[in-house]
C-alpha cells in the first residue's frame, strides 16, 4: 500500500525514473501482494469452475464448504495479522500459538470463576499484552534476536499453560448474545467470525497505513539506524509491535474458544509457523519494512483454499504440509526477486 508518488514531468517517464507514473498493471505487479493476489484469483476461479462442472465430485460451492472455509480462516488469519505487523517492524514472534491458547484459557477460567464476561475478555487481552511485553522486553533490553526470545517464551508459555490447566479443557458456554455476536451467521452463509477477521484487518490496516505508529513500523523494519537518526524511538515502536502481535493472538483465541465452546491451552501445533508462512505468501519481506495487510488476508485465504482443495480432492493431509513447505521457500525467493526488480 505504499503510495506511488507521481512524477510532475512525463519526460521522466521515458527516462525510467523510479518516480515516474506507471501503468496500473505495473503498479499491481509491483505491489507486495500483487503476485499472490493473482494466484488467489486464478485458484479461486478454478475452484468455482470445477465446482460448477463437477458439482458431485468437487463440492466446493456447497454451503457447508463455504461455511467451513469461513470458519477456518479467521483463527489463523487474525494471528497472522499480528505476526505480519511485527514482521514489518523487523521482528518475529514464534510464541503466538502459546499466547493464543493461554489467553483464551485464562478468559474461560476467569469466567467460570464467576467474573462478568467483559472482565473475562479483559483478562484475555491483559494476558496477551503481558506476553507481548515480556517478548519485547527480553528482545530489546538484551539485544537478542526475537526469533530466539519467542522460541523460548513459546516453550515457557506453553508449559505454563499446561501447568495451570492440568491438561484438562474447560467447557465454555457464554451468553447467547455473545456467542451469536462472535460466531453467528448473517444471511445464512456469511459467518460472523469472518466479518470479525475483516474488521480486525481494517484496524490493522488503519494502524499500519493511517497512523504514525505504522510509519514507524515500516521505518524501523526497513532500516533501524536510519529510523533512529530521524528521531524515531526504535524500541518504543518495536515494543508496540510486539504487544499488538500478542493482542491479535488473544483476539483469535477469544474467537476460537467461543466457537468450539471449550477452553484449552493446547493450541494447534505449529500455528506460529503457519502464520509466518501466510505472511511470506502475502508478500511481507522477512527482513522487515515491506508488506501490506491485504497481503496477509490474501495469504490466509490462499492457505486455507489449498487445504480445502486437498481435503475435497480426498488427497492425504501430508500434501498440505508439503505445500506449506514449498510455499515458504518459493514465496521468499519470489519476494527476494521482486525486491531486486522494483
Amino acid at each position: 500500500m505504499t503510495p506511488q508518488p507521481t512524477a510532475a514531468d512525463p519526460a521522466e517517464d521515458r527516462a525510467g525514473n523510479r518516480y515516474a507514473r506507471r501503468s496500473l498493471a505495473d503498479r499491481f505487479r509491483a505491489h507486495p501482494a500483487g503476485n499472490v493476489a493473482i494466484v488467489l484469483i486464478v485458484a479461486f476461479a478454478g475452484c468455482v469452475l470445477a465446482g460448477l462442472l463437477w458439482p458431485d465430485d468437487f463440492r466446493f460451492l456447497t454451503q457447508a464448504n463455504m461455511t467451513q472455509l469461513m470458519r477456518a480462516i479467521p483463527t489463523i488469519g487474525i494471528i497472522s495479522l499480528g505476526v505480519g505487523l511485527l514482521m514489518i517492524a523487523g521482528e518475529y514472534d514464534l510464541s503466538v500459538g502459546a499466547v493464543f491458547g493461554l489467553s483464551s484459557y485464562m478468559m474461560v477460567y476467569v469466567y467460570l470463576a464467576g467474573a462478568p464476561l467483559p472482565l473475562a475478555i479483559l483478562v484475555a487481552f491483559v494476558t496477551g499484552a503481558a506476553a507481548g511485553f515480556l517478548n519485547g522486553w527480553i528482545t530489546l533490553r538484551f539485544g537478542i534476536p526475537s526469533f530466539i526470545t519467542t522460541l523460548g517464551t513459546l516453550f515457557i508459555l506453553r508449559s505454563g499453560g499446561r501447568v495451570i490447566s492440568g491438561n484438562k479443557p474447560l467447557s465454555f458456554f457464554p451468553p447467547e448474545w455473545f456467542q451469536s455476536l462472535l460466531t453467528g451467521k448473517l444471511f445464512g452463509t456469511l459467518q460472523a467470525q469472518f466479518l470479525w477477521f475483516l474488521a480486525l484487518a481494517v484496524i490493522a490496516y488503519l494502524v499500519l497505513n493511517r497512523h504514525w505508529l505504522g510509519n514507524h513500523f515500516f521505518a524501523v523494519g526497513g532500516n533501524q539506524n536510519a529510523a533512529n537518526s530521524v528521531g524515531i524511538n526504535v524500541k518504543r515502536a518495536k515494543m508496540a509491535a510486539f504487544v499488538l502481535c500478542s493482542l491479535f493472538a488473544s483476539a483469535a483465541g477469544i474467537l476460537s474458544v467461543t466457537r468450539v465452546n471449550s477452553g484449552t491451552t493446547e493450541s494447534q501445533a505449529l500455528m506460529e509457523l503457519e502464520a509466518v508462512a501466510i505472511c511470506v505468501m502475502g508478500g511481507l519481506a522477512l527482513t522487515g519494512g515491506r508488506g501490506s495487510i491485504i497481503g496477509v488476508v490474501i495469504g490466509a485465504c490462499m492457505l486455507h483454499l489449498v487445504g480445502d482443495v486437498i481435503l475435497m480432492a480426498q488427497l492425504p493431509g501430508f500434501y498440505l504440509d508439503l505445500f506449506i513447505g514449498v510455499i515458504i521457500v518459493f514465496g521468499v525467493s519470489m519476494n527476494q526477486l521482486a525486491k531486486k526488480k522494483y
Binding site: V163, G317, I324
Partner: protein
C-alpha cells in the same frame, strides 16, 4: 558405567581445553604468531597485558572465564554433583545413581548430543537448521524400508540413509545460498516438506494411515550401535565420542573448520580473504544433516521402531537449545564441540532428574525455554564485550 561415562567426556574435555587457546579462532599462522607474541610478553607486568590487545596473553583465570565452554561446564558439574550428593544421601527418594537410570542417560544423551553437534557446527558457520527432526526420522525410515521391503543388504541401506542426509543438506544449503533465503526460513520450509514426505512414505497399505516401521538391522549392527562394546561401555557413548572428536578435529585442526569460523564470524571479511564462503556453508549444511541421520539411526536401532510422529517432538529446538546453552554464539563464529555436548547432556539430565522427582512433565519445556533465553543473554552480552576493541588495538 559412571566412570566409563565420565572418562569419555573428560577425554574430550581435556583435549578441547588443551586445544583452545584463544576465544577467537584465527588462521593457524596468526594463532602461532599470537602465541609467540604472548610468550614474549609473559614477563611484562600484569597491568600491560590487561590493557593490551586481544592477542596478548591473558591470565589463566581470565582465559577460563571467557572460554565459551566454561559456563556450561560449571553448570553441568554443579548439576551432576548435586544429583550425585543428593542421591548418595537419600538413595530412597532420588534414584539417580542407579545403574538403570545412568543407563538411560547414557542412551539418551548421545542422540541429542550428536544432533546438537551438527546443528552447532552450522550455527558457528552462521546458519540455522530447523529441519533436523525430519532427516532424523526420514533417513532411518527409508533405511528400514530398504531392509524390510526392498531386501537391500545392511550397508547399502545405511548408505541410502546417509545419502538422504547429504541430499537434504545440499538442498538446504543451495536454497539458502543461491536463492538468498534466510536459512531459518529455508529450513522451516524443509521441515514442513520433510514432515509431508515422512507421512507419505509411511502410509500403510492396510489402514491407509501413517504407520510406524520396525528396524531390524541384524544383531551385529544393533550390538555395535546400541549394545555394549569395549568391555561394557554403552555403545552410544563410544559413537558420541567418535563423532564429537571428528567434529572437533574438523573445526580445530582442518582448514574447513577455520573457514567455518571465518564464514560465521564475518562473512565479508572471509570472502575478501579468499574463502569460498558459499561452498563452506553448503558443506556445513550437509554435515549437519548427516549428523542428524546418524543420531536418527542410533536411536532407531535402540528402540527398534520409527514413528512418523517423531517429526513433531521439537527435536530441532532441543538441538539448537543444546548448542546455545553450550556457548555457541547465536550470530556465528564462536563455539566449541565440548560445549554443545555438555549443553545436550545438561538438557537430558535435567529432564531425567525432573522425571525422577516426579515433576509433572509439563515443567520441562518451560525449563528449556528459560535456559535458552538465559544462555543467549549471557552469551550475547559476553560476545559484545569481547568483540569491542580494547586498548590500543
Amino acid at each position: 558405567l559412571l566412570f566409563a561415562y565420565g572418562a569419555s567426556v573428560d577425554e574430550v574435555a581435556w583435549a578441547e581445553a588443551r586445544r583452545s587457546v584463544g576465544i577467537f579462532r584465527q588462521p593457524n599462522h596468526l594463532r602461532r604468531s599470537a602465541t609467540t607474541m604472548s610468550e614474549a610478553q609473559n614477563d611484562q607486568p600484569a597491568a600491560t597485558s590487561a590493557s593490551a590487545g586481544r592477542y596478548t596473553q591473558m591470565t589463566f583465570w581470565t582465559r577460563l572465564r571467557r572460554h565459551p565452554t566454561t559456563n556450561v561446564a560449571v553448570l553441568y558439574t554443579l548439576l551432576f554433583g548435586t544429583c550425585l550428593i543428593v542421591s548418595l544421601l537419600f538413595p530412597a527418594s532420588l534414584h539417580f545413581l542407579e545403574a538403570g537410570n545412568l543407563n538411560v542417560l547414557a542412551q539418551q544423551v548421545p542422540v541429542i548430543a550428536i544432533l546438537a553437534v551438527g546443528a552447532g557446527m552450522l550455527m558457528i558457520a552462521g546458519e540455522f537448521d530447523l529441519s533436523v527432526a525430519g532427516v532424523y526420522t526420514l533417513a532411518p525410515y527409508l533405511m528400514a524400508m530398504a531392509l524390510n521391503k526392498w531386501g537391500l543388504p545392511l550397508l547399502p541401506a545405511l548408505a541410502l540413509a546417509i545419502l538422504v542426509g547429504l541430499a537434504v543438506g545440499l538442498i538446504n544449503g543451495l536454497v539458502t545460498i543461491r536463492l538468498g533465503v534466510p536459512s531459518f526460513i529455508a529450513t522451516l520450509g524443509m521441515m514442513f516438506f520433510l514432515r509431508g514426505i515422512v507421512r507419505f512414505v509411511s502410509i500403510s497399505s492396510v489402514t491407509g494411515q501413517p504407520d510406524q516401521i520396525s528396524l531390524n538391522p541384524g544383531e551385529t549392527f544393533a550390538n555395535l550401535v546400541s549394545g555394549r562394546i569395549l568391555g561394557g561401555i554403552q555403545a552410544q557413548l563410544f559413537w558420541l565420542a567418535v563423532f564429537a572428536l571428528l567434529a572437533g578435529l574438523i573445526l580445530n585442526r582442518h582448514v574447513l573448520g577455520n573457514h567455518i569460523f571465518a564464514a560465521g564470524g564475518d562473512r565479508e571479511a572471509a570472502r575478501k580473504s579468499g574463502i569460498a564462503v558459499d561452498r563452506v556453508k553448503v558443506v556445513t549444511f550437509m554435515i549437519c544433516s548427516v549428523y542428524a541421520v546418524i543420531a536418527g539411526v542410533i536411536q532407531a536401532t535402540r528402540i527398534n521402531t520409527i514413528t512418523p510422529a517423531q517429526t513433531l517432538t521439537g527435536l530441532e529446538l532441543q538441538a539448537i537449545a543444546s548448542a546455545v546453552i553450550g556457548g555457541v554464539y547465536l550470530f556465528g563464529g564462536r563455539g566449541t564441540v565440548l560445549g554443545m555436548v555438555l549443553g545436550a547432556a545438561l538438557i537430558v539430565t535435567v529432564e531425567n532428574v525432573l522425571i525422577l522427582m516426579r515433576f509433572p512433565g509439563e515443567y520441562m519445556p518451560a525449563f528449556i525455554g528459560a535456559l535458552v533465553i538465559l544462555s543467549v543473554i549471557i552469551n550475547t552480552s559476553f560476545g559484545s564485550r569481547i568483540s569491542r576493541p580494547r586498548g590500543s588495538l
